[in-house]
């Protein structure tokens, strides 16, 4: 029986999974970089102060949510992953499902609330523009994104959410500017 349960929880990490995590980190960074880039150049293209204020509000809100995601990721890496391997920049432990889930259960509900409030905030900024393609978080975030996930998959999902946060920021920024 013990053996059979061990079979249930036996996972290995593939090169594909590792590269997907690294690529999503990069995707989120690029999305953020784009927002910052256009923010920097915004005064050149508009004299509308209210537009600049709106953009600053979007930037501040997205940066705060993204920071919460990074903090949770760091907590997972340090506490569950036993730190980072300096060579690979990956956690020393990549699987650890039980420990990952224990830590996530305690932190996901507040994060879910933050994400839902964030979407409402973005919708209020963009109330005069169509936003059908805004990424939203419906239902139970733990169930839809983290249940039974390994440490690597969990930090991948956190990066995936970070990508969506910056995607939303760029999307709203473009819509309110046009």
């Amino acid at each position: 029986m013990i053996f059979s349960f061990a079979q249930c929880t036996t996972h290995s990490v593939s090169q594909r999974e590792v590269e997907i995590y690294q690529t999503l980190r990069e995707t989120a960074d690029k999305q953020r970089g784009d927002f910052d880039f256009f923010m920097k150049h915004l005064p050149r293209s508009t004299s509308d102060d209210s537009l600049i204020v709106q953009h600053l509000s979007i930037q501040k809100a997205a940066a705060a949510v993204a920071q919460q995601l990074l903090t949770l990721e760091q907590m997972l890496i340090m506490q569950v992953g036993k730190g980072k391997n300096p060579k690979t920049q990956l956690p020393n432990r990549l699987i650890a499902i039980k420990a990952t889930q224990q830590l996530l259960v305690a932190h996901i509900k507040p994060l879910e609330q933050v994400l839902k409030r964030h979407v409402q905030h973005l919708k209020s900024i963009g109330k005069n523009v169509p936003l059908p393609d805004l990424k939203v978080w419906k239902g139970d975030l733990y169930q839809t994104s983290f249940e039974q996930a390994t440490l690597l998959r969990s930090i991948t999902m956190l990066q995936q959410i970070r990508c969506d946060v910056w995607y939303n920021a760029n999307l709203l920024s473009q819509r309110v500017s046009s």
Partner: protein
């Protein structure tokens, strides 16, 4: 003593036709073995929870969408570069870069076709309710799919790599990613597409598109031209 013989269609200890069984002591041993193995079997069955696999597929689908977002990012970025290059008074590298990017577009479109065929033939199309392929778990068919295209894949990538190297400097050549790998077991197909289900394979192919764009960037990104100076739409 344990006596074994082919099964017959009668007798209280005989099982299904074609299966060798054992009488008396053998039966007791089988029974004991069954008691020992049953929990193992049930445990293994417990691993295959339908709801869990659906959740994992939905996680994988979200990751796939974000990877696709990244390929789009790269596509727009190189388009930005090309458009800025066209606006420059001195056209310099334009024809060379356009030629190289056309070759990259061809390989990107080839990967896109692989993704479409994989979704259509192995994934049995997209389920409108879930927006995911209808068949998700068939790893064996995914493996057969890539086995079928293996030779074509290697030929196309070898040709592309060869062409790309023509545009690269000696230093850049050293940095270029080798999609076919130095050894057979290091090829992208072996390292990223072995033992994958449909969505995982789609993820890997999208990752491959990102790698192709990043690889090409090693060449056009090092030309020293600040293409972002010309802002699109501002």
């Amino acid at each position: 003593m344990v006596q074994c013989q082919p099964a017959k269609p009668a007798g209280k200890f005989l099982s299904n036709a074609g299966v060798s069984i054992c009488y008396h002591e053998g039966y007791n041993m089988r029974q004991k073995l069954l008691y020992i193995l049953l929990p193992f079997w049930l445990g293994l069955m417990g691993c295959d929870k339908g709801s869990q696999s659906v959740l994992n597929a939905s996680q994988a689908q979200k990751v796939l969408k974000s990877l696709e977002m990244h390929t789009q990012w790269w596509y727009h970025e190189r388009q930005w570069y090309l458009n800025s290059l066209r606006k420059r008074p001195s056209k310099g590298d334009l024809a060379t870069m356009e030629g190289m990017m056309n070759k990259t577009d061809e390989i990107i479109q080839y990967i896109e076709r692989l993704k479409a065929d994989l979704t259509k033939y192995v994934g049995k199309g997209i389920d409108p309710a879930t927006k995911m392929p209808r068949q998700l778990k068939n790893k064996r068919q995914v493996s057969q799919f890539f086995k079928y295209f293996e030779e074509e894949f290697h030929t196309k990538f070898s040709l592309y790599q060869h062409t790309l190297r023509d545009y690269a400097s000696s230093a850049q050549k050293e940095q270029l990613y080798n999609f076919s790998g130095q050894e057979e077991d290091q090829s992208f197909l072996q390292t990223h597409l072995t033992q994958t289900n449909v969505i995982e394979a789609l993820q890997a192919l999208t990752l491959l598109q990102v790698k192709v764009f990043k690889n090409e960037y090693l060449i056009w990104g090092n030309t020293g031209f600040n293409y972002r100076d010309a802002l699109p739409g501002l």
